[in-house]
Symmetry: C2
Subunit: 337 residues, 2 copies
């Protein structure tokens, strides 16, 4: 309104609003902290410095916008994975819900263990038993049916310790980091060992990450005509691809076809994704979330049966990757705190 | 410059530039034809009507921006596929280039046929022979090495009939359609029977489609540490997934996780992708490029050995899908005409 007081300032009238519009985000982020849930530690400084470097067109570390790919593990990196993976809690709930249709489960392991609440017998069934539970609850239906089942469960099921929706147990500092990356032109991806269609129904709402930017373990899917003549995609009881460890860079190449500039994980299953990211040319950022806060969340690393962080922690130390100390670096872990 | 002549127009000084900036595309497309290489036929009208319907927020056919996914076959849909698939021309050139390192090829089919220029013997080697040529020339190297080979070839190799770069043989009307879709908020994808990493090095430059929006047939790839200790992704001589026919909707689900709103193909290999697109709710657009112009390009359909269009043509007629008659609907086929 003030730009047109005098006729000789008429050229500003065109230029200034454009600058204001184009620079809107830039000035907002200069004035307010885009990472308010991070303490003012070296970790936060390394993130902010990286972001400034890759977006500084005049600097030597500039990364062209189309190359700004950031990949994040999900379980233990973006949300809690204790005491059991959320997807596994979903599988247990589905076994209970489907039991009336499967009378044979009453006498067959590992299903009997789930129905009896016998966690010891369940653990004894080992990886093979857990695999059977996953297949029995995640396959044998169309993709649309599975999506509906996930949406129904995730919108009501509660975490046993926090008595809150699982989607409340996402890490607020990481939500802020995802938003900061996107505001700086990054495409943010999830690259998870969890199965891809368990995540897609809710990642856009919770993380701002659309389905097409979610990569994960997948089941064999086949195209066929349904009974009404309409085509369906049917989920077969067979793993198609395990998106973990060396599978992560392989799947990143398969789906994205570009090497990430930034990658974040929390366990040895993310080690190769970080190595692949680190091996690219130019600016790179490799991050690990280290679970060090038994009071607000959990503390675990080298000896944990879930999200073990051992070899990757050594490699991070040897190569100078950023290790987020949850207790020291995060002012707030969950938004409800 | 004219907005500030009088003080009482100062409020326009702020508002007008914003409108001009925000509405730049909208007003431009209202005034200029975004599809100048299309004749004014029913086909063009159906495209324009679809675009208006899905973007009209007040209408019953509105499609929310995040759901605007458009998938395109590549060979025969976005560029010429005659007299042989471009990727196959690349394979033949690579056999010749690699022959000095493979003396055994002089006496072994189908390599001998390629080196002798004996197209009859090559054809006699059948699909199995062609598969061996593809594996021998597309695998056995790192992803980075393969990308460099493709870039070198595609920037120099010429089409035998037109004596031009293969990337000059893209269809100008389809380039305009891709741009129109993107200007209306669509994400444009390639979903091709061709191998994905043969396309990714040049699709952004030629079609405006970035690598992460290119889907195709893939080879098994493995992660390993190179001799210098740096990780590489190595292309193994084994097909991972055939992105053709029913494989197209399967791969669309795997990679995108959303059903397309618009899909375009040109052969029976695209039939299931169009069926899957058609089976979604709300507005849909299914298109087939029918090669009807033997003078400017080629004319072929039901009996062609490349890009056979037979069952899909019948289904298009039965279900009212849009069939582009290249000769009648396209004012210009290639930009160099």
């Amino acid at each position: 309104m003030a730009f047109c007081r005098r006729r000789r300032r008429s050229s500003s009238a065109l230029v200034l609003p454009l600058i204001l519009l184009l620079g809107a985000f830039g000035s907002a982020s200069a004035q307010t902290d885009p990472l308010p849930s991070w303490n003012e530690t070296a970790t936060k400084q390394s993130i902010v410095a990286f972001m400034q470097a890759v977006t500084d067109r005049a600097g030597s570390k500039f990364v062209p916008p189309e190359q700004r790919i950031a990949t994040f593990d999900n379980d233990g990196t973006l949300w809690s994975e204790q005491p059991i993976y959320v997807q596994f809690a979903f599988a247990l709930a589905r076994v209970k819900a489907l039991a009336p249709k499967h009378p044979e489960w009453k006498t067959s392991q590992p299903f009997k263990a789930v129905l009896d609440g016998d966690m010891k017998a369940l653990a004894a069934s080992g990886e093979k038993g857990l695999g059977r539970l996953i297949l029995a609850t995640h396959t044998g239906m169309t993709t649309d049916e599975f999506t509906r089942t996930v949406m129904d469960w995730i919108s009501t099921a509660q975490h046993p310790r926090f008595k809150r929706l699982y989607t409340d147990l996402v890490y607020q500092p990481m939500i802020e980091l995802l938003a900061l990356l996107r505001s700086n032109g990054f495409k943010t991806y999830i690259v998870s060992g969890g199965t891809v269609e368990f995540m897609r129904p809710w990642t856009e709402r919770v993380y701002g990450i659309p389905p097409e930017q979610v990569i994960g373990t997948s089941f064999l899917t086949t195209y066929r005509l349904g009974t009404d003549g309409r085509p369906v995609l049917f989920r077969q009881p067979k793993i198609d691809f395990v998106d973990d460890g060396p599978g992560k860079p392989v799947n990143i190449q398969k789906v994205i076809g570009r090497r990430p500039v930034l990658a974040f994980g929390n366990s040895d299953g993310d080690q190769q994704m970080l190595e692949w990211t680190a091996a690219g040319e130019g600016s790179r950022f490799m991050g690990l979330v280290h679970h060090t806060d038994a009071v607000r969340e959990w503390a675990y690393d080298r000896r944990s049966h879930i999200g073990r962080l051992d070899k990757a922690l050594d490699e991070a130390a040897a190569r100078g990757w950023t290790v987020v100390d949850m207790k020291a670096d995060w002012k707030k872990i969950f938004s409800f705190e």
